[in-house]
């Protein structure tokens, strides 16, 4: 029992500590593909350090929502990290507090407050980006739902620890059509939710084209650092859900000892690195979609997820 609480805290610490690293590695890899040297992979840590030591300016016309939001955006991925398998393949202390749908709701709560905060200051660019994020969000919502329904239909549960077992027992289950199609659909979802390239350009700083980034335009100092860190953790958590729950539970700790859990950290980081390689290739080979083409991109994700469900029904 005590061990499980400890491992759960280790999971949260891993998510907090390595989320900026994942973002740094991504940008470095992207620069390398473009034949540039790029910033150090530890640059996001330095950015966060600098931002935490800067003054924060809050508009006089903003309400409590604006001040409250960075904390919510920062805390929600941590809550999700308590629910999902980051390092272990057996359920931990908080595992049965909520399932994948619960995790989705918690993440959506952070997005909801970020949207409100963007509208709150009446900065002209904030509401544009906020409404676009909502557009992407409500197009992604049905895909999330169908993915979760298919998962519960195939595995008989939405608790992530039970779902991850299903895909590898027996090994042949890895090649079930519903599994592969779900992976495809969820990959598209991660691209949309993480503000990645076919949907949004994470490195673009042109306000009129921004989708995800314009929500934190008004923040400075500590608030901005929390928003940034929270966003990186959200992406890290989504990657963990994708890699550990939907793809395979390989590399996760099976023993209930601290050393096994600590050994799982480099293995999981290696898995995430492999995923980032794929992500960078996708980002470098595609161009950003026009705004009204995003519905078609997410429509394709929706069709893929429904095809996953249909093929599952078709199996004898």
């Amino acid at each position: 029992m005590f061990n499980h609480i400890l491992f759960n805290l280790v999971q949260v610490l891993v998510v907090m500590a390595f989320a900026p690293l994942a973002s740094g590695v991504t940008s470095r890899l992207k620069e390398m593909i473009q034949s540039k040297r790029g910033p150090s992979i530890f640059q996001p840590y330095r950015d966060l350090w600098k931002l935490f030591h800067k003054d924060e300016i809050v508009s006089e016309d903003s309400s409590w929502i604006f001040r409250f939001t960075p904390y919510i955006v920062f805390v929600t991925p941590i809550f999700v990290a308590l629910l999902i398998p980051v390092l272990t393949n057996y359920p931990l202390f908080f595992a049965f507090m909520g399932d994948m749908i619960g995790g989705g709701f918690i993440l959506a709560l952070g997005g909801f407050f970020a949207t409100l905060a963007a509208v709150d200051t009446a900065n002209p660019y904030g509401p544009i980006g906020a409404s676009r994020t909502r557009m992407v969000g409500f197009l992604a919502e049905p895909v999330f739902m169908i993915v979760f329904f298919t998962v519960s239909f195939v595995a008989g549960s939405t608790i992530p620890y039970i779902v991850q077992e299903k895909w590898v027992t027996p090994m042949a289950n890895f090649f079930m059509p519903s599994h592969v199609l779900l992976m495809l659909a969820f990959l598209m979802l991660i691209l949309a939710e993480g503000g990645r390239i076919p949907v949004d350009n994470p490195t673009g700083h042109f306000e009129l084209a921004m989708i995800d980034e314009s929500k934190s335009l008004e923040y400075s100092g500590r608030g901005f650092a929390l928003m940034k860190w929270g966003g990186q953790m959200k992406f890290f958590v989504l990657m963990c859900i994708f890699l550990n729950v939907l793809v395979t539970p390989w590399g996760l700790a099976g023993d209930q000892t601290l050393s096994a859990v600590l050994l799982a950290i480099p293995l999981v980081l290696f898995k995430i690195f492999c995923f980032l390689l794929v992500l960078v290739v996708i980002e470098s080979s595609l161009s950003k979609l026009r705004l009204f083409r995003i519905s078609e991109f997410l429509g394709a994700a929706f069709i893929t997820s429904v095809a996953a469900m249909i093929t599952q029904v078709f199996l004898p």
Partner: protein, 236 residues
């Protein structure tokens, strides 16, 4: 063969059919004529893979024959024939317009795929349990989606591909129901498909030469007079 191998083969076959269904949806949604053709090639490869896997699973050399015929005729000869008969201009066309917008078309295609489950049910009840795979419902779905593509597309090349998708769907359903279809029949069907491609290619070229466009959906009248303004539109 052991149970685990059989299960793996069944799952791989199901995966091939699942991706087959996905390519059928892709053909409905794709804008570029070139992309439609590429998806069709991918779909034919998946069909060949499914036939080969089923052949290995049930020890049937006829199915290997089907796989081989599919592997040669569709991914290689069909694009070559199209390039020879219809001119290269159709490959470069983007923004192929449709009767319905893409999300609506996709939703209808999705409905057709669900409908095919019910259509396949009586057929599946009639065959022995070991022949019940995902091939029959997805084959019927391919058939219906191909027919649907035929009705919503306005450009000549995607129309032709819709016809071939129908044939692919019928093949996919056929290979799982009967293990011993004579190779002669397979060859005849494959040759038929190629002749369809050949004739349509020549037709597309003729249409393009006379009207200046391959957007056959707009050719709704037989009179010369209505064709004249079409020529200006065709150059847009």
């Amino acid at each position: 063969m052991s149970d685990t191998t059989n299960q793996l083969l069944d799952n791989l076959n199901a995966l091939a059919t699942g991706l087959f269904l996905l390519t059928a949806f892709g053909i409905v949604a794709m804008r570029q004529a070139r992309g439609v053709l590429n998806l069709f090639i991918l779909q034919s490869l998946l069909l060949a893979a499914s036939a080969a896997l089923l052949g290995f699973r049930h020890h049937s050399e006829h199915l290997y024959g089907v796989a081989l015929v599919n592997l040669i005729s569709k991914p290689i000869i069909v694009p070559w024939l199209l390039r020879k008969t219809a001119s290269a201009e159709i490959y470069t066309r983007r923004e192929v317009d449709q009767v319905l917008n893409i999300p609506t078309a996709l939703l209808i295609a999705l409905g057709l795929a669900i409908l095919s489950y019910f259509l396949a049910q009586p057929l599946l009840n009639a065959v022995a349990p070991e022949y019940r795979g995902p091939n029959v419902p997805i084959g019927i779905a391919g058939l219906l989606i191909g027919a649907f593509t035929l009705s919503v597309r306005r450009e000549a090349l995607p129309l032709l591909i819709g016809l071939l998708v129908m044939e692919n769907g019928a093949f996919l359903a056929g290979i799982s129901i009967s293990r011993n279809l004579p190779l002669l029949v397979e060859l005849a069907i494959a040759t038929d498909g190629l002749i369809i491609v050949f004739i349509s290619g020549v037709l597309i070229r003729a249409v393009q030469k006379h009207v200046g466009t391959t957007a056959v959906g707009e050719l709704s009248s037989l009179k010369e007079a209505t064709v004249e303004p079409m020529e200006k539109e065709g150059t847009k």
